[in-house]
Symmetry: C2
Subunit: 120 residues, 2 copies
């Protein structure tokens, strides 16, 4: 369950260590060992984190001898942004609508029809 792309991306970014790794990769490519260095967990744990980020499509990896340098992939961010912006906009639109309704109610207070719909 929750195997779709968006779920994997959000799930990957739900961990602060992984977000930190993303942040550091934004400054430049790095190997597993380099990425693992600042944290006080084993390099295997970081390797797992990187796997999660890779599966989510947030990073890609090449090969340089024994090293597997990680690179941040910008594309996936669009996927998130699109989802987020869509619902944020709708929420804001609704907010503006509510404001309008409240304004009108002020001008011309309750007459009849007790308003009780909205969702259904």
């Amino acid at each position: 369950m929750a195997n779709d792309r968006l779920s994997r991306v959000f799930s990957a970014l739900a961990d602060p260590t992984r977000r930190d790794i993303v942040a550091r990769l934004a400054a430049g490519d790095a190997t597993v060992n380099e990425l693992a260095e600042p944290y006080d967990v084993t390099v295997q744990a970081v390797s797992k984190h990187i796997r999660v980020l890779e599966d989510a499509g947030l990073i890609s990896r090449s090969r340089d001898a024994q090293r597997r340098p990680c690179r941040l992939e910008g594309e996936v961010f669009d996927l998130m942004t699109k989802w987020i912006e869509r619902y944020r906009r709708e929420a804001e639109d609704r907010f503006r609508q509510l404001d309008a309704v409240l304004e009108q109610m002020e001008e011309q207070p309750v007459t009849g029809t007790p308003a009780k719909e909205a969702a259904s």
Copy 2:
């Protein structure tokens, strides 16, 4: 662990059912029962999902008799968008830089200084 705001938000949105709930709330407020109706899980399960969304600050709730209508909160989206946009921009900048470097390498191929920095 992973108790900071951003972690809670990303984690909340990592579940497709919860994203669906957010999507539906973008169209208008709704009660727990109304939200639970379309899914084939118990209302308790949905209640838990809503709790998670509320703890993440993605929704707020009021009271209407026994009902607890849920409303989408737009603000939190900004938090995500800011984080995302920041690193997306950096990734894209780096991408452009790389392009420039490759271009220059084409014009004037390898001379000396074997270039081996970038991350550290």
